[in-house]
Point group: C2
Chain length 457, copies 2
C-alpha cells in the first residue's frame, strides 16, 4: 500500500487545501460580520441558545457515544476520570450552556465605540473606533461547552471563528456545531468552522496571514505547545504560580484567612496560591496556627529550612518553587523582608497574580510596584483574579502575556481598533516645507464617528 | 584549523551565554526602571541630549570610519548610494538627534495613569494602571539615529532596551551607545545594551521569556525575516500597499489633488499610494488630466485594460496589484463600483491605509467599514497616516498587525497595564456558594490608584 505510507510522511495536500479554503471563507465572512449590527448579532446568539435547548436529546445522545468511548479508554488507563467528568453533559449542563449564550447576548456591545477623537486641523478629524479582530481560532480539550462559549464570544464581538475540539468530544462537538450553524443561517456563510483532524490544526497554525488570534484552552503543556508552534498571536496562560506574601506589618488574623482562602477555596485553578512567603519576624507567631488549619483541610505542605525551624513539615526542593501544584499542596518560604519577597515572586512567579498582606502602605507600594505580574493584590485573596469578579462580563481568557491583553480578558480582548480620518480634500503637502500649516491637534471629547460627515459641521 | 570550522557549524556557546546574561541584566534593570519617576527619566533623557552634543567631534570621527568603509563597499557594488546617505552624519544631523531626545523628554508621561477603576465590593477596589512592557529590543539597518531614538523612547516609557544596529554603522553606534550609557550612569545598570554580532541577534530572538517586544526597523524583507524567526511579539510593518478610490460621486478636482499628493509628495514611504482605483463612470472625465499631471512629475504609470481604453499607459501585470513600488510608480484600475473597490483593497492591500474620495456619505461608509485596514480615510491623502500628524507625539512605529497596537503607534505602544486590587482581607469564599455576597461592580470614575489605600475611605 504505497499510497498509505506516502500519506504518513508527506503533508496531505487535500487536508491543507481544505483548511486553507475554510480559513479563506472565514476571512471573507469576517469582513461582512464586522458590519453586522448589534441587534443582528444578539438575535443570532438567542437563536443559538434556543437551538441548543431544542436539540437537548440529540446532544445527549451524541455525548453518550463520546462518554462510552472515553470510559473504555479510562478502563484501559488511557484517559483520566477528570477527563471523563469534564466530557459528560446532562440536562442541567445543557441548560447552563444555553443560559451562558443568552448572558453573552445581554452584554454591552464591544464594537463601534469611538475610543478617541481628535481634530488634526479644520475639517480634518481623526477617530479611533473599536472593531473586531477578524478571524479567531480556538483549540481546546475535552469540554464541549468550550466550543459553544468561544463561538458565542466570537459572534458577540463580530469575529469569524475556527473551532477545533478534542477527539474525545467529537460527536458532542459536531452536534453542537450543527446547532450553531443552523441557528445562524442568516449570518455570512462560513463565519464558524469546525475542524476535527490533527493535520488540520497543524495547517491552521501556519495560516498567520488569515487567522488573527488563537485562544487555546487546556493544560499548561497544551497551551505551551500551541505557543511554540505558531506565529499567530496566542491569548492564553500557560501557568499560574501565584504567591501570597505575609509581611511583618500584616494583620495576622486577616493573613491566615486570606492564605487559607487562596489555597483551599478551589485549589485546581490558576489563580490559587502555590507558594506562601512569610516575613521572618512573624514566622513564629503566624506559621503554627496556619499550618494546623491547612493540615486539617488536607493540604500537603513543604517548607524551606527556616520554615521547618518553626513548623514540622516536609522539606521543599528547588523544584517546588517553580511548580504549579493545582492541588491541595503548598510550599512555604521564610524571607528577610519585602524586597526578598519581591525577588522571589519575580524569579519564580508566572506573572499571573501576586498578593501582599500588610497594614503598611509603603510596604504595599514596594511589593505592588516591584512585582511584575498582571494582577497584584493588597490584603485580598489571589482567587479574585477572574473576569467575572473583575466585572469584565464574559471572560475570554486569562493572559500571562503582556502584549494586547493582560490578566483576565473580557470581550474587549477580541477587538482591535481602526482609525477613521474624515477630511475635505486635505493634502499632506500643505503641512510640509516652508509654508507648512500647523496641526491643531485638539481633542474632540465625546465626539462619535459618523460615517462621511464631520462633527464640527 | 578544526576549531574554526567548528564555530561555523555549532552554536557559539560563549555568544549564547553572553547574550543570555545581557538579557537577564536587562530584565533585572527593567524591574527597577519601571519605578523610576517621571523627573528621573526626563532628566536622564536631557543628559543624553547633552552628551550627544558634547561628543559631536567624537561621533563624527567614528561616523567617518563607517562612511569610508561604506563608500569602499559602494565602489565594489555591495552597498547602495541610499545606504551610504542614510549612514552619513553631520553637525546638523547630530543637533537633530539631540533635539529629538529632548522632544521625547517633553512628551506627556505614558506611565502611571489609572486607566480604569472599579469598586468590586465595599473596600475592594480594582485599578488598571499603565506600566512599562519590560524589555524591548530593536534590530535596525544603517541609520545611527535609530539607535538613539529607540533608546530614548524606551527610557521615556520605563523599558530596558537591547539595541542591534547594522554592521555598516558599528563605529557610529558604539560611540552613540557609550554616550547614552555614560549619561545615564544613575539608572539601573544594564538598562540599555548594545549587541553587534549576527549570532547575538539569533540568540536574542530565541529569548522570548526575557524579551517582551521586538521593534525591527528596515526594509519589508528585513521585518518579515524578524517576524518569521522569533516567538517574541513584533511591532512593525512589513508593507504599505495603500489604495485611493475615486468614486463616481467624487469631487474630481479634489480627487486629482489628493491622488497626486498621495503619490508624489513623498513616494518612498509606506503611506504613499501604490494603486489608484477609479469608478468606471468617471474614468473618462478624471483619468486624462491626472495622468498628464503624474507624467509631468515623472510618475511611471501602469493600467488595467479598462484604464488603457481611456489613457495611453503601459499595461499592468498581475504582480503590479501586489507591489509596493516605494517610488514614482503607480498602477491604476477601473472598477465597477465601491464594492469592487473594497474587494480589490482587501485582496491586495496590506491593511495599512486606504482612502475613499466621494461626496456621498453612504458610499464613504460602505468603503470605510468594509475595508480591513489600520487607517481608512475619507477625502484625505493616505500620507496623513503618521504618528506626528495623528497627534500621538513621538512615533514608535507603524503597525500593520492587529494585536496590541495598530496603525501609527505612540509611546503608549511601549506600555501595558497592571491590575492593582486594594482590599481589606477579602476572601473569595464570601462570594461563592449559597450565601454568596453579590459584587457591586461600581465604576470609580476619575479615581487614581494610591498605593496601599482605598479611595472610598
Amino acid at each position: 500500500m504505497t499510497t498509505m505510507s506516502d500519506t504518513d510522511t508527506e503533508p496531505d495536500t487535500d487536508v491543507e487545501a481544505d483548511t486553507d479554503e475554510l480559513a479563506r471563507r472565514a476571512e471573507r465572512a469576517a469582513l461582512r460580520l464586522a458590519n453586522a449590527d448589534e441587534a443582528t448579532r444578539n438575535e443570532a446568539l438567542r437563536s443559538i441558545a434556543d437551538a441548543i435547548r431544542e436539540r437537548e436529546s440529540e446532544i445527549l445522545d451524541a455525548n453518550a457515544v463520546d462518554v462510552e468511548e472515553a470510559e473504555r479508554m479510562l478502563a484501559e488507563g488511557e484517559y483520566t476520570q477528570a477527563l471523563v467528568d469534564r466530557l459528560k453533559l446532562d440536562e442541567t449542563k445543557i441548560e447552563e450552556i444555553a443560559s451562558m449564550v443568552e448572558s453573552v447576548a445581554a452584554q454591552d456591545d464591544p464594537l463601534g465605540e469611538t475610543l478617541a477623537a481628535r481634530e488634526l486641523d479644520e475639517d480634518l478629524e481623526l477617530y479611533r473606533v473599536a472593531v473586531p479582530i477578524g478571524v479567531v481560532a480556538t483549540v481546546f480539550e475535552s469540554r464541549p461547552d468550550a466550543l459553544v462559549q468561544i463561538a458565542a464570544l466570537a459572534l458577540k464581538s463580530g469575529n469569524a471563528v475556527v473551532l477545533k475540539g478534542g477527539s474525545e468530544a467529537s460527536e458532542s462537538n459536531r452536534v453542537l456545531y450543527e446547532a450553531i450553524v443552523e441557528a445562524t443561517a442568516d449570518l455570512p456563510d462560513g463565519w464558524a468552522a469546525l475542524i476535527e483532524a490533527h493535520e488540520e490544526v497543524d495547517r491552521l497554525l501556519e495560516l498567520d496571514d488569515r487567522v488573527d488570534l488563537v485562544m487555546p484552552r487546556g493544560s499548561s503543556e497544551f497551551v505551551s505547545y500551541i505557543q511554540e508552534n505558531t506565529q499567530i498571536p496566542v491569548l492564553g496562560h500557560t501557568e499560574g504560580i501565584c504567591h501570597v506574601y505575609v509581611d511583618e506589618a500584616a494583620d495576622l488574623e486577616m493573613a491566615e484567612a486570606v492564605a487559607f482562602d487562596a489555597k483551599v477555596q478551589y485549589p485546581a485553578v490558576c489563580n490559587a496560591v502555590e507558594t506562601l512567603l512569610v516575613h521572618e519576624s512573624v514566622a513564629d507567631a503566624f506559621l503554627p496556627g496556619l499550618v494546623e488549619r491547612y493540615e486539617a483541610a488536607g493540604v500537603e505542605l513543604r517548607g524551606d529550612r527556616r520554615t521547618r525551624e518553626v513548623v514540622d513539615i516536609e522539606p521543599a526542593t528547588d523544584d517546588d518553587w517553580d511548580t504549579e501544584y493545582g492541588d491541595l499542596e503548598l510550599s512555604i518560604a521564610v524571607v528577610d523582608d519585602v524586597y526578598a519577597a519581591v525577588e522571589h515572586a519575580n524569579d519564580h512567579g508566572s506573572k499571573h497574580t501576586e498578593s501582599v498582606l500588610t497594614e503598611d502602605a509603603e510596604t504595599a507600594e514596594t511589593f505592588m510596584t516591584g512585582v511584575d505580574a498582571a494582577s497584584v493584590f493588597h490584603n485580598a485573596s489571589t482567587r479574585f483574579a477572574d473576569g467575572y469578579r473583575y466585572g469584565l462580563g464574559a471572560e475570554v481568557g486569562i493572559s500571562t502575556g503582556k502584549i494586547h491583553a493582560r490578566g483576565p480578558v473580557g470581550l474587549a480582548g477580541l477587538t482591535t481598533y481602526k482609525y477613521y480620518l474624515e477630511g475635505d480634500g486635505h493634502l499632506v503637502a500643505s503641512y510640509s516645507g516652508e509654508d507648512a500649516v500647523p496641526f491643531t491637534h485638539r481633542e474632540l471629547d465625546g465626539a462619535e464617528w459618523t460615517p462621511g460627515s464631520l462633527s464640527t459641521r
